[in-house]
Protein backbone atom coordinates (compact mmCIF):
# COMPACT_ATOMS: atom_id res chain seq x y z
CA UNK A 1 0.00 0.00 0.00
CA UNK A 2 1.12 3.50 -0.66
CA UNK A 3 2.94 4.93 2.35
CA UNK A 4 1.50 8.35 1.69
CA UNK A 5 -1.98 6.98 2.19
CA UNK A 6 -0.98 5.10 5.33
CA UNK A 7 0.66 8.03 7.13
CA UNK A 8 -1.51 10.26 9.27
CA UNK A 9 -1.72 13.97 8.47
CA UNK A 10 0.35 14.68 11.56
CA UNK A 11 3.12 12.34 10.40
CA UNK A 12 3.17 14.00 7.00
CA UNK A 13 3.17 17.44 8.62
CA UNK A 14 6.17 16.56 10.80
CA UNK A 15 7.90 14.94 7.83
CA UNK A 16 7.34 17.93 5.55
CA UNK A 17 8.00 20.55 8.21
CA UNK A 18 10.23 18.85 10.74
CA UNK A 19 10.62 20.78 13.99
CA UNK A 20 14.01 21.29 15.64
CA UNK A 21 16.26 19.98 12.87
CA UNK A 22 19.90 20.74 13.47
CA UNK A 23 22.73 20.49 15.95
CA UNK A 24 23.46 22.05 19.33
CA UNK A 25 27.05 23.09 19.86
CA UNK A 26 28.48 21.91 23.15
CA UNK A 27 25.28 20.03 23.84
CA UNK A 28 24.66 18.72 27.34
CA UNK A 29 23.93 15.32 25.87
CA UNK A 30 23.98 13.70 22.41
CA UNK A 31 22.46 10.31 21.60
CA UNK A 32 22.79 8.44 18.33
CA UNK A 33 20.87 5.21 17.79
CA UNK A 34 19.97 2.85 14.99
CA UNK A 35 22.26 1.80 12.20
CA UNK A 36 22.62 2.41 8.54
CA UNK A 37 22.18 -1.26 7.79
CA UNK A 38 18.50 -1.26 8.63
CA UNK A 39 18.07 2.19 7.22
CA UNK A 40 17.44 4.43 10.24
CA UNK A 41 19.85 6.53 12.29
CA UNK A 42 18.63 9.15 14.75
CA UNK A 43 20.74 11.65 16.61
CA UNK A 44 19.24 13.83 19.31
CA UNK A 45 21.03 16.78 20.92
CA UNK A 46 19.88 18.11 24.29
CA UNK A 47 20.60 21.39 26.03
CA UNK A 48 19.90 20.76 29.70
CA UNK A 49 20.06 23.50 32.30
CA UNK A 50 19.07 23.14 35.94
CA UNK A 51 17.74 19.66 35.26
CA UNK A 52 15.36 21.00 32.57
CA UNK A 53 15.58 20.35 28.81
CA UNK A 54 15.86 23.89 27.43
CA UNK A 55 16.32 22.86 23.83
CA UNK A 56 16.46 19.76 21.66
CA UNK A 57 17.57 19.25 18.08
CA UNK A 58 17.79 16.23 15.86
CA UNK A 59 19.28 14.79 12.72
CA UNK A 60 17.85 11.67 11.15
CA UNK A 61 18.72 9.40 8.26
CA UNK A 62 15.62 7.37 7.59
CA UNK A 63 12.14 7.07 6.22
CA UNK A 64 9.21 9.45 6.61
CA UNK A 65 8.19 7.92 9.92
CA UNK A 66 11.73 8.13 11.28
CA UNK A 67 11.88 11.85 10.52
CA UNK A 68 8.41 12.48 11.95
CA UNK A 69 9.05 10.54 15.18
CA UNK A 70 12.36 12.37 15.74
CA UNK A 71 10.65 15.68 15.16
CA UNK A 72 7.81 14.83 17.54
CA UNK A 73 10.22 13.46 20.16
CA UNK A 74 12.10 16.77 20.27
CA UNK A 75 8.80 18.65 20.59
CA UNK A 76 7.70 16.47 23.48
CA UNK A 77 10.96 16.71 25.38
CA UNK A 78 11.55 20.45 25.34
CA UNK A 79 10.60 22.00 28.68
CA UNK A 80 10.56 18.70 30.55
CA UNK A 81 12.69 17.87 33.56
CA UNK A 82 15.19 15.07 33.09
CA UNK A 83 12.93 12.73 35.06
CA UNK A 84 9.89 13.66 32.95
CA UNK A 85 11.94 13.30 29.76
CA UNK A 86 12.82 9.77 30.75
CA UNK A 87 9.11 8.95 30.92
CA UNK A 88 8.50 9.80 27.24
CA UNK A 89 7.75 6.46 25.65
CA UNK A 90 7.48 5.37 22.06
CA UNK A 91 3.76 5.05 22.66
CA UNK A 92 3.54 8.71 23.62
CA UNK A 93 5.40 9.69 20.45
CA UNK A 94 3.10 7.52 18.35
CA UNK A 95 -0.04 8.86 19.96
CA UNK A 96 1.11 12.43 19.46
CA UNK A 97 1.46 11.61 15.76
CA UNK A 98 -2.03 10.06 15.55
CA UNK A 99 -0.48 6.63 15.07
CA UNK A 100 1.96 4.94 12.72
CA UNK A 101 1.55 2.14 10.18
CA UNK A 102 2.42 -1.21 11.87
CA UNK A 103 5.67 -1.65 9.91
CA UNK A 104 6.84 1.74 11.19
CA UNK A 105 6.35 1.20 14.91
CA UNK A 106 10.08 0.49 15.27
CA UNK A 107 10.76 4.12 14.30
CA UNK A 108 9.00 5.31 17.45
CA UNK A 109 11.08 2.89 19.51
CA UNK A 110 14.16 4.39 17.95
CA UNK A 111 12.99 7.87 18.98
CA UNK A 112 12.57 6.69 22.57
CA UNK A 113 16.02 5.11 22.48
CA UNK A 114 17.53 8.29 21.03
CA UNK A 115 16.16 10.32 23.95
CA UNK A 116 17.52 7.78 26.41
CA UNK A 117 20.89 7.75 24.71
CA UNK A 118 21.13 11.54 24.87
CA UNK A 119 20.14 11.51 28.56
CA UNK A 120 22.72 8.81 29.21
CA UNK A 121 25.38 10.94 27.55
CA UNK A 122 24.32 13.88 29.73
CA UNK A 123 24.51 11.71 32.86
CA UNK A 124 27.95 10.37 31.89
CA UNK A 125 29.34 13.83 31.19
CA UNK A 126 28.07 15.16 34.49
CA UNK A 127 28.84 12.05 36.53
CA UNK A 128 25.29 11.74 37.76
CA UNK A 129 22.93 8.81 37.96
CA UNK A 130 19.44 9.19 36.53
CA UNK A 131 17.31 6.57 38.29
CA UNK A 132 15.78 4.11 35.86
CA UNK A 133 18.01 5.07 32.91
CA UNK A 134 19.87 2.22 31.25
CA UNK A 135 22.87 2.57 28.97
CA UNK A 136 21.95 2.73 25.28
CA UNK A 137 22.08 -0.62 23.52
CA UNK A 138 21.84 0.30 19.89
CA UNK A 139 24.53 2.70 18.94
CA UNK A 140 25.97 3.70 15.63
CA UNK A 141 29.43 2.91 17.01
CA UNK A 142 28.59 -0.77 17.17
CA UNK A 143 27.99 -0.78 13.45
CA UNK A 144 31.16 1.14 12.72
CA UNK A 145 33.17 -1.35 14.73
CA UNK A 146 31.76 -4.25 12.71
CA UNK A 147 33.29 -2.90 9.53
Amino acid sequence: MSQVLEYSEKVMDHFNNPRNVGEIENASGVGTVGNAKCGDIMRIYLDIQDNVVKDAKFKTFGCGAAVATSSMATELIIGKTVEEALQITNKAVMEALDGLPPVKVHCSLLAEEAIHAALWDYAQKNHIVIPGLKPPVKDIEEVSEEK
Binding site: Q3, V4, K37, I41, M42, K59, C63, G64, A66
Partner: protein, 394 residues
Protein backbone atom coordinates in the same frame (compact mmCIF):
# COMPACT_ATOMS: atom_id res chain seq x y z
CA UNK B 1 -5.52 13.83 -10.92
CA UNK B 2 -3.26 16.84 -10.48
CA UNK B 3 -0.38 17.30 -12.89
CA UNK B 4 2.18 14.63 -12.31
CA UNK B 5 5.52 13.76 -13.81
CA UNK B 6 5.42 10.03 -14.23
CA UNK B 7 8.88 8.48 -13.99
CA UNK B 8 7.89 4.97 -12.95
CA UNK B 9 7.30 3.35 -16.32
CA UNK B 10 9.05 0.15 -15.25
CA UNK B 11 6.28 -0.32 -12.67
CA UNK B 12 3.55 0.14 -15.21
CA UNK B 13 2.54 2.41 -18.07
CA UNK B 14 -0.52 4.33 -19.17
CA UNK B 15 -2.75 2.60 -21.69
CA UNK B 16 -2.51 4.61 -24.90
CA UNK B 17 -5.91 6.00 -26.01
CA UNK B 18 -5.63 4.32 -29.41
CA UNK B 19 -4.87 1.01 -27.71
CA UNK B 20 -7.85 1.41 -25.38
CA UNK B 21 -10.05 2.08 -28.42
CA UNK B 22 -9.15 -1.28 -29.96
CA UNK B 23 -10.23 -2.99 -26.72
CA UNK B 24 -13.59 -1.31 -26.23
CA UNK B 25 -15.64 -3.28 -28.82
CA UNK B 26 -14.69 -6.49 -27.01
CA UNK B 27 -16.26 -5.25 -23.80
CA UNK B 28 -19.40 -3.78 -25.31
CA UNK B 29 -20.16 -5.24 -28.71
CA UNK B 30 -18.38 -8.53 -29.15
CA UNK B 31 -18.67 -9.71 -25.59
CA UNK B 32 -19.37 -13.31 -26.60
CA UNK B 33 -17.15 -15.99 -25.08
CA UNK B 34 -14.39 -16.47 -27.62
CA UNK B 35 -14.64 -20.24 -27.14
CA UNK B 36 -18.34 -20.48 -28.06
CA UNK B 37 -19.60 -22.03 -31.26
CA UNK B 38 -22.11 -19.44 -32.52
CA UNK B 39 -21.06 -16.85 -35.04
CA UNK B 40 -21.46 -14.03 -32.53
CA UNK B 41 -18.41 -15.34 -30.67
CA UNK B 42 -16.41 -15.51 -33.88
CA UNK B 43 -15.28 -11.87 -33.72
CA UNK B 44 -13.68 -12.55 -30.36
CA UNK B 45 -11.91 -15.66 -31.61
CA UNK B 46 -10.62 -13.83 -34.65
CA UNK B 47 -9.35 -10.96 -32.53
CA UNK B 48 -7.52 -13.30 -30.12
CA UNK B 49 -5.79 -15.06 -33.02
CA UNK B 50 -4.94 -11.74 -34.67
CA UNK B 51 -3.28 -10.55 -31.44
CA UNK B 52 -1.41 -13.86 -31.18
CA UNK B 53 -0.11 -13.44 -34.72
CA UNK B 54 0.93 -9.83 -34.03
CA UNK B 55 2.92 -10.86 -30.96
CA UNK B 56 4.45 -13.89 -32.69
CA UNK B 57 5.57 -11.75 -35.64
CA UNK B 58 7.09 -9.18 -33.31
CA UNK B 59 9.16 -11.86 -31.56
CA UNK B 60 10.05 -13.88 -34.65
CA UNK B 61 7.96 -16.79 -33.36
CA UNK B 62 5.09 -18.89 -34.64
CA UNK B 63 1.56 -18.05 -33.45
CA UNK B 64 1.17 -21.49 -31.92
CA UNK B 65 4.20 -20.85 -29.74
CA UNK B 66 2.42 -17.97 -27.95
CA UNK B 67 0.22 -18.76 -24.94
CA UNK B 68 -1.82 -16.03 -23.32
CA UNK B 69 -1.66 -15.78 -19.52
CA UNK B 70 -2.83 -13.46 -16.77
CA UNK B 71 0.48 -11.55 -16.71
CA UNK B 72 4.24 -11.78 -16.35
CA UNK B 73 4.22 -13.36 -12.89
CA UNK B 74 1.93 -16.14 -14.06
CA UNK B 75 4.13 -16.76 -17.09
CA UNK B 76 7.21 -17.01 -14.87
CA UNK B 77 5.44 -19.36 -12.46
CA UNK B 78 4.24 -21.52 -15.31
CA UNK B 79 7.61 -21.77 -17.02
CA UNK B 80 9.44 -22.78 -13.85
CA UNK B 81 6.91 -25.04 -12.19
CA UNK B 82 5.76 -26.85 -15.33
CA UNK B 83 9.34 -27.44 -16.46
CA UNK B 84 10.34 -28.66 -13.03
CA UNK B 85 7.44 -31.10 -12.87
CA UNK B 86 7.90 -32.29 -16.46
CA UNK B 87 11.64 -32.89 -16.05
CA UNK B 88 11.86 -34.16 -12.51
CA UNK B 89 12.72 -37.67 -13.70
CA UNK B 90 15.71 -36.21 -15.53
CA UNK B 91 16.91 -33.93 -12.79
CA UNK B 92 16.16 -31.57 -9.99
CA UNK B 93 18.60 -28.74 -10.53
CA UNK B 94 17.68 -25.23 -11.71
CA UNK B 95 20.01 -22.28 -12.34
CA UNK B 96 18.90 -18.69 -12.02
CA UNK B 97 20.44 -15.41 -10.85
CA UNK B 98 20.35 -13.42 -7.64
CA UNK B 99 18.77 -10.42 -9.34
CA UNK B 100 15.65 -12.01 -10.78
CA UNK B 101 12.19 -10.63 -10.17
CA UNK B 102 10.42 -12.14 -7.16
CA UNK B 103 8.11 -14.00 -9.53
CA UNK B 104 11.17 -16.12 -10.33
CA UNK B 105 12.95 -16.07 -6.97
CA UNK B 106 9.93 -16.93 -4.86
CA UNK B 107 8.91 -19.65 -7.31
CA UNK B 108 12.42 -21.09 -7.01
CA UNK B 109 12.14 -21.02 -3.22
CA UNK B 110 8.84 -22.86 -3.50
CA UNK B 111 10.43 -25.48 -5.75
CA UNK B 112 13.30 -25.87 -3.28
CA UNK B 113 10.75 -26.79 -0.62
CA UNK B 114 9.52 -29.51 -2.98
CA UNK B 115 13.02 -30.97 -3.23
CA UNK B 116 14.44 -29.15 -6.23
CA UNK B 117 17.89 -27.59 -5.96
CA UNK B 118 18.52 -24.07 -7.18
CA UNK B 119 21.79 -22.27 -7.90
CA UNK B 120 21.51 -18.49 -7.68
CA UNK B 121 24.27 -17.01 -9.82
CA UNK B 122 26.13 -13.92 -8.67
CA UNK B 123 26.31 -10.82 -10.80
CA UNK B 124 29.15 -8.33 -11.16
CA UNK B 125 29.05 -4.72 -9.99
CA UNK B 126 27.12 -3.78 -13.12
CA UNK B 127 24.56 -6.54 -12.69
CA UNK B 128 25.87 -8.88 -15.39
CA UNK B 129 25.73 -12.64 -14.95
CA UNK B 130 29.17 -14.25 -15.19
CA UNK B 131 29.13 -16.78 -18.05
CA UNK B 132 32.04 -18.76 -16.58
CA UNK B 133 30.19 -19.09 -13.29
CA UNK B 134 27.14 -20.23 -15.24
CA UNK B 135 29.15 -22.94 -17.02
CA UNK B 136 30.59 -24.13 -13.72
CA UNK B 137 27.14 -24.26 -12.14
CA UNK B 138 25.79 -26.68 -14.76
CA UNK B 139 25.37 -30.22 -13.44
CA UNK B 140 24.33 -33.57 -14.91
CA UNK B 141 20.89 -33.05 -13.47
CA UNK B 142 20.37 -29.41 -14.47
CA UNK B 143 16.99 -29.14 -16.17
CA UNK B 144 16.45 -25.42 -16.55
CA UNK B 145 18.29 -22.11 -16.71
CA UNK B 146 16.17 -19.01 -16.11
CA UNK B 147 17.87 -15.62 -16.48
CA UNK B 148 16.04 -12.36 -16.97
CA UNK B 149 16.44 -10.51 -20.26
CA UNK B 150 16.82 -7.17 -18.50
CA UNK B 151 16.66 -6.23 -14.85
CA UNK B 152 13.68 -4.24 -13.62
CA UNK B 153 15.57 -2.20 -11.02
CA UNK B 154 18.95 -1.35 -12.47
CA UNK B 155 18.11 -1.89 -16.14
CA UNK B 156 21.08 -4.12 -16.96
CA UNK B 157 20.56 -6.23 -20.10
CA UNK B 158 21.97 -9.72 -19.70
CA UNK B 159 24.01 -11.59 -22.34
CA UNK B 160 20.97 -13.62 -23.39
CA UNK B 161 22.41 -14.91 -26.65
CA UNK B 162 25.47 -16.37 -24.91
CA UNK B 163 23.44 -17.80 -22.04
CA UNK B 164 21.06 -19.50 -24.49
CA UNK B 165 23.98 -21.01 -26.38
CA UNK B 166 25.52 -22.38 -23.22
CA UNK B 167 22.18 -23.85 -22.16
CA UNK B 168 21.64 -25.56 -25.51
CA UNK B 169 25.21 -26.88 -25.72
CA UNK B 170 24.37 -28.75 -22.54
CA UNK B 171 20.88 -29.77 -23.63
CA UNK B 172 19.27 -27.61 -20.94
CA UNK B 173 16.08 -25.60 -21.41
CA UNK B 174 16.44 -21.83 -21.22
CA UNK B 175 13.70 -19.52 -19.96
CA UNK B 176 13.96 -15.74 -19.83
CA UNK B 177 11.79 -13.25 -18.00
CA UNK B 178 11.53 -10.55 -20.67
CA UNK B 179 8.85 -8.48 -18.95
CA UNK B 180 11.06 -5.37 -18.91
CA UNK B 181 12.70 -6.02 -22.27
CA UNK B 182 9.66 -6.77 -24.44
CA UNK B 183 9.02 -3.78 -26.69
CA UNK B 184 12.05 -1.95 -25.30
CA UNK B 185 14.96 -4.10 -26.50
CA UNK B 186 15.10 -5.90 -29.87
CA UNK B 187 14.19 -9.57 -29.41
CA UNK B 188 14.40 -11.95 -32.37
CA UNK B 189 13.69 -15.51 -31.34
CA UNK B 190 15.14 -16.79 -34.61
CA UNK B 191 18.51 -15.49 -33.45
CA UNK B 192 18.32 -16.38 -29.78
CA UNK B 193 18.43 -19.82 -28.19
CA UNK B 194 15.42 -19.18 -25.98
CA UNK B 195 12.96 -21.97 -25.18
CA UNK B 196 10.53 -19.98 -23.07
CA UNK B 197 9.94 -16.28 -22.63
CA UNK B 198 7.63 -14.29 -20.37
CA UNK B 199 6.22 -10.89 -21.31
CA UNK B 200 3.48 -8.59 -20.11
CA UNK B 201 1.20 -6.05 -21.83
CA UNK B 202 1.15 -3.31 -19.22
CA UNK B 203 4.83 -2.44 -19.54
CA UNK B 204 4.28 -1.34 -23.15
CA UNK B 205 1.19 0.85 -22.78
CA UNK B 206 -1.16 -2.12 -22.91
CA UNK B 207 -3.66 -3.24 -20.27
CA UNK B 208 -2.81 -4.85 -16.93
CA UNK B 209 -3.70 -8.49 -16.31
CA UNK B 210 -2.52 -10.04 -19.56
CA UNK B 211 0.78 -11.62 -20.47
CA UNK B 212 2.27 -14.31 -22.64
CA UNK B 213 4.48 -17.29 -22.27
CA UNK B 214 6.32 -18.15 -25.46
CA UNK B 215 7.13 -21.86 -25.62
CA UNK B 216 9.34 -22.97 -28.48
CA UNK B 217 7.78 -25.61 -30.71
CA UNK B 218 8.87 -29.03 -29.57
CA UNK B 219 9.32 -28.03 -25.92
CA UNK B 220 6.80 -29.96 -23.87
CA UNK B 221 5.25 -28.05 -21.07
CA UNK B 222 2.43 -29.19 -18.83
CA UNK B 223 -0.79 -27.37 -18.20
CA UNK B 224 -0.65 -24.69 -15.52
CA UNK B 225 -4.28 -23.67 -15.05
CA UNK B 226 -6.47 -26.76 -15.36
CA UNK B 227 -9.97 -26.43 -16.73
CA UNK B 228 -11.28 -25.75 -20.20
CA UNK B 229 -9.58 -26.34 -23.52
CA UNK B 230 -8.32 -22.79 -24.09
CA UNK B 231 -4.75 -22.38 -25.31
CA UNK B 232 -4.72 -25.97 -26.54
CA UNK B 233 -5.57 -27.19 -23.10
CA UNK B 234 -2.46 -25.67 -21.53
CA UNK B 235 -3.99 -22.62 -19.92
CA UNK B 236 -7.66 -22.84 -19.07
CA UNK B 237 -9.93 -19.89 -18.39
CA UNK B 238 -12.30 -17.80 -20.47
CA UNK B 239 -10.33 -15.64 -22.86
CA UNK B 240 -9.65 -12.12 -21.62
CA UNK B 241 -10.54 -10.96 -25.10
CA UNK B 242 -10.30 -7.17 -24.52
CA UNK B 243 -6.98 -7.63 -22.68
CA UNK B 244 -5.54 -9.86 -25.38
CA UNK B 245 -6.68 -7.45 -28.09
CA UNK B 246 -5.03 -4.64 -26.13
CA UNK B 247 -1.79 -6.64 -25.88
CA UNK B 248 -1.88 -7.17 -29.65
CA UNK B 249 -2.51 -3.49 -30.30
CA UNK B 250 0.21 -2.46 -27.83
CA UNK B 251 2.64 -4.80 -29.57
CA UNK B 252 1.72 -3.39 -32.98
CA UNK B 253 2.23 0.11 -31.61
CA UNK B 254 5.53 -0.84 -29.94
CA UNK B 255 6.72 -2.40 -33.17
CA UNK B 256 5.78 0.53 -35.39
CA UNK B 257 7.26 3.16 -33.07
CA UNK B 258 10.28 1.14 -31.99
CA UNK B 259 13.27 2.96 -33.47
CA UNK B 260 12.16 6.55 -32.79
CA UNK B 261 10.78 5.74 -29.36
CA UNK B 262 13.91 3.99 -28.15
CA UNK B 263 16.13 6.71 -29.53
CA UNK B 264 14.16 9.37 -27.65
CA UNK B 265 14.16 7.37 -24.42
CA UNK B 266 17.92 6.88 -24.58
CA UNK B 267 18.43 10.57 -25.26
CA UNK B 268 16.29 11.59 -22.27
CA UNK B 269 17.85 8.92 -20.06
CA UNK B 270 21.40 9.94 -20.87
CA UNK B 271 20.54 13.60 -20.36
CA UNK B 272 19.04 12.77 -16.95
CA UNK B 273 21.97 10.58 -15.91
CA UNK B 274 24.48 13.16 -17.10
CA UNK B 275 22.88 16.02 -15.17
CA UNK B 276 22.33 14.07 -11.95
CA UNK B 277 25.87 12.68 -11.78
CA UNK B 278 27.35 16.08 -12.58
CA UNK B 279 25.17 18.24 -10.37
CA UNK B 280 24.54 16.10 -7.29
CA UNK B 281 27.73 15.08 -5.48
CA UNK B 282 28.23 11.69 -3.82
CA UNK B 283 25.92 10.00 -6.29
CA UNK B 284 26.46 6.80 -8.24
CA UNK B 285 24.69 5.25 -11.18
CA UNK B 286 23.59 1.67 -10.56
CA UNK B 287 23.48 -0.81 -13.43
CA UNK B 288 25.46 -1.17 -16.64
CA UNK B 289 26.52 2.06 -18.32
CA UNK B 290 25.86 0.80 -21.86
CA UNK B 291 23.92 -2.47 -21.75
CA UNK B 292 20.89 -0.99 -20.08
CA UNK B 293 17.21 -0.52 -20.73
CA UNK B 294 16.58 2.64 -22.75
CA UNK B 295 14.34 4.21 -20.10
CA UNK B 296 16.11 3.15 -16.92
CA UNK B 297 18.11 5.37 -14.58
CA UNK B 298 18.97 4.13 -11.09
CA UNK B 299 20.97 6.23 -8.66
CA UNK B 300 22.27 5.93 -5.13
CA UNK B 301 22.54 9.19 -3.23
CA UNK B 302 24.83 8.74 -0.25
CA UNK B 303 23.61 9.81 3.21
CA UNK B 304 19.91 9.87 2.29
CA UNK B 305 17.18 7.28 2.57
CA UNK B 306 14.95 6.26 -0.32
CA UNK B 307 11.48 6.51 1.18
CA UNK B 308 12.05 10.09 2.34
CA UNK B 309 13.28 10.86 -1.14
CA UNK B 310 10.15 9.36 -2.71
CA UNK B 311 7.81 11.19 -0.34
CA UNK B 312 9.41 14.54 -1.11
CA UNK B 313 9.42 13.86 -4.85
CA UNK B 314 5.75 12.95 -4.53
CA UNK B 315 5.08 16.30 -2.82
CA UNK B 316 6.45 17.83 -5.99
CA UNK B 317 4.30 15.68 -8.25
CA UNK B 318 7.08 13.31 -9.30
CA UNK B 319 6.35 9.56 -9.27
CA UNK B 320 9.45 7.39 -8.76
CA UNK B 321 10.51 4.25 -6.93
CA UNK B 322 13.30 3.11 -4.64
CA UNK B 323 15.03 -0.04 -3.50
CA UNK B 324 15.17 1.06 0.12
CA UNK B 325 13.97 -1.26 2.86
CA UNK B 326 11.21 1.11 3.86
CA UNK B 327 9.59 0.77 0.48
CA UNK B 328 9.91 -3.00 0.38
CA UNK B 329 8.22 -3.64 3.72
CA UNK B 330 11.23 -5.51 5.10
CA UNK B 331 14.37 -4.45 6.90
CA UNK B 332 16.61 -5.26 3.96
CA UNK B 333 17.06 -3.07 0.92
CA UNK B 334 16.58 -4.45 -2.58
CA UNK B 335 18.15 -7.85 -3.28
CA UNK B 336 19.34 -6.49 -6.63
CA UNK B 337 21.29 -3.61 -5.10
CA UNK B 338 22.85 -5.92 -2.52
CA UNK B 339 23.75 -8.41 -5.29
CA UNK B 340 25.72 -5.76 -7.19
CA UNK B 341 27.70 -5.22 -4.00
CA UNK B 342 26.28 -2.00 -2.60
CA UNK B 343 26.62 -1.65 1.17
CA UNK B 344 23.27 -1.45 2.95
CA UNK B 345 23.44 2.26 3.71
CA UNK B 346 24.05 3.11 0.06
CA UNK B 347 21.39 0.70 -1.17
CA UNK B 348 18.91 2.45 1.13
CA UNK B 349 19.48 5.69 -0.73
CA UNK B 350 18.57 4.39 -4.15
CA UNK B 351 16.18 5.98 -6.59
CA UNK B 352 14.81 4.46 -9.77
CA UNK B 353 13.52 6.77 -12.47
CA UNK B 354 12.09 4.98 -15.50
CA UNK B 355 11.21 7.10 -18.49
CA UNK B 356 8.97 6.76 -21.48
CA UNK B 357 9.17 8.55 -24.79
CA UNK B 358 6.19 10.63 -23.58
CA UNK B 359 8.38 12.34 -20.99
CA UNK B 360 9.87 15.67 -21.99
CA UNK B 361 13.20 17.40 -21.46
CA UNK B 362 11.32 20.03 -19.41
CA UNK B 363 10.08 17.31 -17.08
CA UNK B 364 13.62 15.99 -16.70
CA UNK B 365 14.93 19.49 -15.97
CA UNK B 366 12.22 20.05 -13.36
CA UNK B 367 12.98 16.66 -11.79
CA UNK B 368 16.72 17.32 -11.60
CA UNK B 369 16.15 20.73 -10.00
CA UNK B 370 13.80 19.21 -7.43
CA UNK B 371 16.20 16.35 -6.79
CA UNK B 372 19.03 18.74 -6.08
CA UNK B 373 16.92 20.58 -3.50
CA UNK B 374 15.52 17.40 -1.95
CA UNK B 375 18.81 15.53 -1.71
CA UNK B 376 20.41 18.68 -0.27
CA UNK B 377 17.65 19.02 2.31
CA UNK B 378 17.80 15.37 3.36
CA UNK B 379 21.58 15.54 3.63
CA UNK B 380 21.35 18.61 5.83
CA UNK B 381 19.18 16.48 8.14
CA UNK B 382 21.36 13.38 7.92
CA UNK B 383 23.67 12.42 10.80
CA UNK B 384 25.66 10.37 8.29
CA UNK B 385 26.32 13.46 6.22
CA UNK B 386 27.20 15.44 9.35
CA UNK B 387 29.77 12.82 10.30
CA UNK B 388 31.10 12.70 6.76
CA UNK B 389 31.58 16.47 6.60
CA UNK B 390 33.31 16.51 10.00
CA UNK B 391 35.57 13.69 8.86
CA UNK B 392 36.43 15.57 5.65
CA UNK B 393 37.30 18.79 7.44
CA UNK B 394 39.72 17.08 9.82
Amino acid sequence: MENIIYLDNAATTAVKPQILETMKPYFEEYYGNASSVYRFAGEGQKAVEEARREIADFLGAKPKEIYFTGGGSESDNWALKATAFAKREKGKHIITSKIEHHAILHTCEYLEKLGFEVTYLNVDENGLVDLEELKKAIREDTILISIMFANNEIGTIEPIQEIGKIAHEHGILFHTDAVQAYGHVPIDLNELSIDMLSASAHKINGPKGVGILYVREGVRIGSFIHGGAQERGKRAGTYNTPGIVGFGAATKWANETFAGRIEKEIELRDYLIGRVLKEIPYTRLNGHAVNRLPGNANFSFRFVEGESLLLLLDQNGICASSGSACTSGSLDPSHVLLAIGLPHEIAHGSLRLTLSADNTKEEIDYTVEKLKTIVGRLRSMSPLYEDFVKEQSK
